[in-house]
Symmetry: C2
Subunit: 237 residues, 2 copies
């Protein structure tokens, strides 16, 4: 009656999911350890490990050394968002990309940013206001602050030709950071730039990035009405 030997980690994963779905293992239950499962499934422990680790990443299992592996009590859903280059996002949708720099200034770092970006007092930042458009209609406002101490080369860049979004991705790639999503109501200046009504609800992304502990840049993206960011909730079966 033994199962016909699960010889790859995907089939092991499927079997584990099946047992959870089927109620063989319930939320909070301790499941057998890797060695036992490997013996039962007729495969190597590394294969079981790979399968369970993948499920733990998905949030279905909680694993701790010595304590063993449990079915997660509250299976936290995880969604992976891909945050593309704005130009690419617009082109991929089949629209014509447009871009314009609105203002460029050097400013003392605003208090709100100084703390968020962990900047020394009195740091001067480069502040840019730009608009990306799709088929000549405003698509998103990019309000950008850049720490010139972290990116000296930025002083010589002409951001009327290339957006900070794109330049930074090419020249300062691979940094860590944090990101927040929320909504705001359009005020007059924003409404003017996005050609929408004052008060309209807009989708906003705030993002700060740094390398090691040095703040590189902070950006606020304010999207035109109608924008939707979507992705897939991928859980095994």
């Amino acid at each position: 009656m033994t199962v016909p030997a699960l010889n790859n980690w995907q089939s092991v994963q499927d079997e584990v999911v099946r047992r959870i779905h089927g109620g063989v293992w319930n939320q909070g239950d301790l499941i057998p350890n890797e060695a036992d499962l490997a013996r039962e499934f007729g495969c190597a422990r590394a294969t079981v490990n790979r399968a369970l680790q993948s499920l733990a990443d998905s949030g279905l299992l909680d694993r701790r050394r010595k304590a063993g592996t449990r079915v997660a009590m509250l299976p936290v859903r995880k969604a992976t968002l891909e945050i593309p280059l704005i130009r690419k996002e617009i082109c991929d949708k089949g629209h014509t990309y447009g871009y314009a720099q609105v203002t460029r200034r050097r400013v003392p770092s605003p208090a709100r940013l100084a703390s968020k970006m962990n900047l020394p007092r009195g740091t001067k930042l480069l502040h840019l206001l730009c608009v990306h458009s799709a088929d000549a209609k405003p698509y998103v406002i990019e309000e950008r602050w850049i720490n010139p101490d972290a990116v000296p080369a930025v002083e010589g860049v002409d951001f009327s030709q290339i957006s900070p979004n794109e330049w930074l991705l090419k020249h300062v790639p691979f940094s860590a950071g944090d990101i927040a999503f929320f909504a705001m109501s359009a005020d007059q200046p924003v409404a003017d730039l996005l050609e929408c009504e004052v008060g309209e609800g807009l989708f906003v992304i705030d993002r700060s990035t740094r390398r090691d502990t040095q703040a590189i840049t902070s950006v606020r993206l304010i999207f035109a009405p109608g924008y939707r960011m979507h992705t897939v909730l991928s859980l095994p079966t």
Copy 2:
């Protein structure tokens, strides 16, 4: 001169990232194959594989059989969002959780949902309108549609005691789906429920889940003003 042997996958990953940062390998470049790197680093190929696979998951590398491994041209940023139980989210913030069901009806599936949830024509859905609150202030509106064909047990549940959000998570866990984030302006009924101004910009999440191909539930979460969803952009150093 040789590096002191990278004997774990994290250090291999760090070294690869260092070489990309340092310009040893540039965007679009083909990097050496796993066997060569393993020899150079003085570790097993599996260790290199683990490191590179992790970097590919992060979007820094593009890997294809036979074609080899390249530094990604447009390093797509990936953010992982955890979508918690609403009650848990509120409690974790240290607030008192409150919940109320506003309405409960059986309705023909609206056209918009019928297509999104891929329902047969004429399917009747259970429609619920609920409000979750934090410290007695409205926190989020949960507008929920449930397909009773997929979850027959739902007919007997008293959703004035437990939110659909929580009941479904406990009883219909582990399903796939898709999710979208956007902003809307509060209309009168929404403003009444959230105790905010009409027209105010609100953060909204639409989510549909299914098991296999059968639609289970669709939900719209409309958050009170001020809500921010945030996460970390985790890229290796």
